[in-house]
Symmetry: C2
Subunit: 306 residues, 2 copies
């Protein structure tokens, strides 16, 4: 799993930061990537990376403000032009489908792949055999959501020493033992998988929140995340502005990270009023509360390993 | 008058060329600027220039393909955010208003200035005391328009030698003579303005065409333009592609320029298949037919003087 920040600014693009978009690279896990928000010129940012639009299989929109969605029609069109043929699922608040369909229809755009827009509400919005995605309403004046991406725990690896102790020599039988709860050996002996594998490998958890006022009660939703991505539109001293505009501060995001036992905090959606040395100040404000914190910048990447 | 090309590519943004947008700087003539088309990331291109979004008073859309309109919602929003308070008039084909209003409404965007969307058809679409703008249907699969911007002829300058010959000494009376058809001097003498001013100064004419197949019968519409801006999506050898996709070639654009007696031809909307030295080849193809030709690149500027 790898995160790549395509836009880390707030509201309006600046020379330093584009508007919001974040890629979650699941190529190793699922052979695909997911996009979270798609502000204007997300496809232009992608031109600076190795990201392949045709690999983007899911797009999660946190909320419908322009700086989070105005790049969608262009991204979807260019994905089609650039040989994207596999389907795309798009998740987001009510109204998203109408924006996409109006934009494509008026511009006479016919995508070469099917897509579906799924209106999200609180709870599980996607689940397959490797991943579960949960949505959580936030507080931003208009409907805004956080997404918790939970990789399912994976069965532990076969332990060769245990197999050897049972007198089973290496061979194709190992694969069979790994893939079935019980295996009957050629000699009639029964092997229980649980007796020969190590502990389950815990799946990773990534929590990506949309724009929001500070919500202490989000602890449960983001609990134990490997990475929490939280907006920090404002510095600590601008907490009143943050509240008035339905945004959060550095210290508020750090407080949530600390109380929810997350491993790493990445702050994004930084107001263009903060540049140069003030960015390091923002980081320090957060770090006094939660040390493992980074302020994202455009094209910043974070690899999730354990 | 000054032209500044913000995007000169076709269809999809590339590293070299953004999608279509062109600024006509009328600051000297009218204290405002006009935008022609507004592909995605036009506002990002503007960040690289000295253009002030609040000065953009009119936006002309040639046609509704995504590479010509997907930057509009973001541009309009950011103009509001960046202290734009004066009204904006937007001209374009039927459907444009619905795209703009849907995008702004769904994103909860409230502009701090009024705007109006005017559906264009053939003929005069705007006229005031200094300018006339004509629209001309083109051939592009969907409705596409060309715009002819005609500056009205301006009255000639006062000729001091003629005034002196009439025995009128320099003073505030000169202004009065210039601004009125007839002026009665303090001594009762009557001065006819036409007797003391030079020839009218011919207004400039700029013709900006949207995407189109080659249309020889456009000669009348673009006749005598100081500058003709024509798409040249394809090289001469790709004329079949051009026809099939409702586009033009270098030589077709140059032929029109030559036959319509324009002064300068600027080619834009260049397919991303042509890069590096092939751009100069495109220019040469056109130049053999019409020598005063330039292939626009992003941020290319052309000052119109006479
Ligand atoms: Zn935002
Ligand atoms: Zn085009």
């Amino acid at each position: 799993m790898r995160l790549e920040f395509l836009g880390t600014g707030a509201g309006v693009p600046s020379k330093e930061r584009n508007v919001s978009s974040l890629l979650l690279d699941l190529n190793q896990e699922k052979g695909e990537t997911w996009l979270f928000d798609c502000g204007e010129a997300t496809q232009h940012q992608i031109l600076k990376t190795t990201i392949k639009p045709r690999k983007v299989a899911k797009i999660f929109i946190t909320h419908l403000h322009g700086d989070h969605i105005y790049g969608l029609p262009g991204f979807l069109s260019s994905r089609s032009f650039q040989d994207g043929t596999s389907p795309v699922m798009i998740y987001g608040p009510k109204g998203l489908e109408s924006f996409i369909k109006t934009s494509l229809a008026i511009s006479g755009t016919h995508l070469r792949y099917p897509f579906d827009v799924i209106e999200v509400n609180e709870g599980i919005i996607f689940e397959d055999d490797t991943m579960t995605v949960y949505a959580q309403p936030l507080e931003h004046g208009i409907p805004s959501f956080g997404y918790r991406v939970e990789e399912k725990d994976k069965q532990g690896e076969l332990l060769p020493e245990k197999l050897r102790a049972l007198g089973i020599p290496p061979g194709p039988i190992y694969k069979q033992i790994k893939e079935n709860e019980t295996t009957i050996l050629p000699d009639g002996e029964v092997v229980q998988r649980k007796d020969v594998v190590g502990d389950d490998k815990r799946g990773h958890v990534i929590s990506i929140l949309g724009d929001t006022r500070y919500l202490p009660n989000l602890q449960a939703f983001v609990k134990d995340s490997d990475v929490l991505i939280h907006e920090a539109t404002f510095a600590d001293e601008d907490a009143t502005l943050a509240y008035d505009y339905f945004h959060s501060t550095t210290t508020q995001a750090a407080t949530l990270a600390s109380e929810a036992n997350v491993n790493k905090l990445i702050l994004t959606h930084i107001s263009s009023r903060y540049t140069g040395e003030r960015i390091e100040q923002l980081r320090l404000e957060a770090a006094t509360i939660f040390p493992n914190v980074t302020i994202a910048h455009d094209l910043y990447q974070h690899e999730i390993t354990k």
